[in-house]
């Protein structure tokens, strides 16, 4: 019978902080770059130019319907075979960002679409410039709408980053594999790794809540800054 003991893998906990740092680094960079890509994508998808709309649409449909694992393989192995060798961390970051950017595009586009046309017209009637319309009218309302779906997306980025281990990125998932392989305590390693991912996802979620609360308080409904 399997004897469950966490102490058996205690000697590996020293290497865990570095693994967590790599997972966090990958996740946070993906979220930030994904946001940038998503904003670009959403602007393309809602653009008046048909070419940009088509471009945005092709990007979203392609990346949303490709398994993340395949995107990672394409960037790391595929591009390398064409002569473009990208390191494993960078490859994972590119693949995760492309994937996240597609979902982010849809979330942001949904937020933009939810703002009634009348809002733009009313803001224009107040003699606001285009920048002001977005800064004071569209974005504050949009932020409320996309706030919850963004949370889901951020968590899926943290969990999806574990796929980077297949191309040898030294993240939490790789730590789990190394502990299992060396100590043969796979169940313990999986559970500790799982607990770490739950905590990291919650940490990212908590930061989103804190940032969101600060921003929403600042942009109270009807407030004119």
């Amino acid at each position: 019978m399997y004897q469950f003991t966490i102490e058996a893998i205690a000697s590996y906990f020293g290497k865990l902080p570095l693994a967590i740092a790599h997972t966090l680094e990958l996740s946070i960079l993906t979220i930030l770059l994904g946001l940038v890509l998503g904003i670009g994508g959403a602007l393309c998808r809602t653009s008046r130019a048909p070419v940009l709309r088509l471009l945005g649409r092709v990007y979203v449909e392609l990346l949303r319907n490709l398994p993340l694992l395949i995107v990672i393989y394409l960037v790391y192995f595929g591009l390398a075979q064409l002569g473009l060798r990208i390191g494993n961390f960078e490859s994972a970051l590119i693949a995760l960002t492309l994937n996240t950017g597609a979902y982010m595009t849809e979330v942001l586009r949904g937020g933009l679409a939810a703002i009634d046309r009348g809002q733009y017209l009313a803001a224009r009637a107040q003699a606001m410039s285009t920048v002001q319309v977005y800064r004071y009218v569209v974005f504050p309302q949009m932020f409320r709408i996309i706030y919850a779906p963004l949370g889901n997306l951020f968590i899926s980025v943290v969990l999806g980053s574990s796929l980077a281990s297949v191309i040898g990125v030294e993240d939490v998932m790789t730590w789990v594999h190394i502990v299992g392989n060396e100590s043969f305590r796979y169940l313990e390693a999986f559970l500790v790794g799982g607990a770490v991912y739950v905590s990291l996802a919650q940490l990212i979620n908590l930061s989103r809540l804190l940032v969101g609360r600060a921003l929403l308080r600042h942009q109270a409904p009807g407030a004119r800054a």
Binding site: Y76, Q81, R85, N181, F184
Partner: protein, 271 residues
Amino acid sequence: MRLRHFGRLLSAGLAFVLLAALGAAPAAAQDQTSILNQVLKRGTVRIATQPGNPPYSSMTPSGEPEGFDIEIGKLIAAALKVKPEWVTVDTPGRITALQTHRADLTISNFTNNTERSTVVAFTRPYLVVGSKVMVLKDSKLQTIDDVNDSAVKIGISRGGTSEQNAIRIAPKATIVRFDMVQDATLALKSGQVDVQVMDSLLNASILAKDNGASFRNIPGNYSYEEIAIGLPAGDFDWWRVIDGFVRQFVNSGDDAKLFKKYFGYDMPPIR
């Protein structure tokens, strides 16, 4: 708000503890009788195998397992008059499947060593292999001393013996771990790593297929590994039957015949 967040964290934690308890329970229940009796009663023997490890074991396009190790599994099932049931695992999964009783046997290019023997049981070997160090044909690396350099990246499949071998052969080199042997070979071919450390037979079959087009070996053999069938530890009856099968399989010459069929050359002697 903060309290609600804490509640969510707590429920996630509770779910984890429950999961752990569930994982431990069936293993305890299964241990009441020998696996031998369970297999005979069930009418199937569950065999852990890796899909991406030809010619030992791989999947046909229609999803049927095939290979040297698969044939051995079928022979064991036939000898026990039960049906084989394949449990697909990756390299480390060969051990976990036995520890958690998801499989009754692991027949998957599985090296018997002291470390592994402390957690799972092994039969006598049906094959003895070494370790080879493979590079691209036009690589600058010529000797093992060239490989032992921090600028050199060695690709290996994690959980296999090649990981320990790579560290032993070239302690200064950078190790890049992949999930499957094929991924490590792909990484070598696409230039993402400079070297692949792998078992000698797999290496021989890759070089035979490649026919000098893209790969070559750094001269030398770098390990002695006994390939055997793995079983859950602590079940003497089950081990007795399977080890007996392997003894007859090897000494009757069936082993060598099957080897030649899948590898295309004569089996190296088992010392």
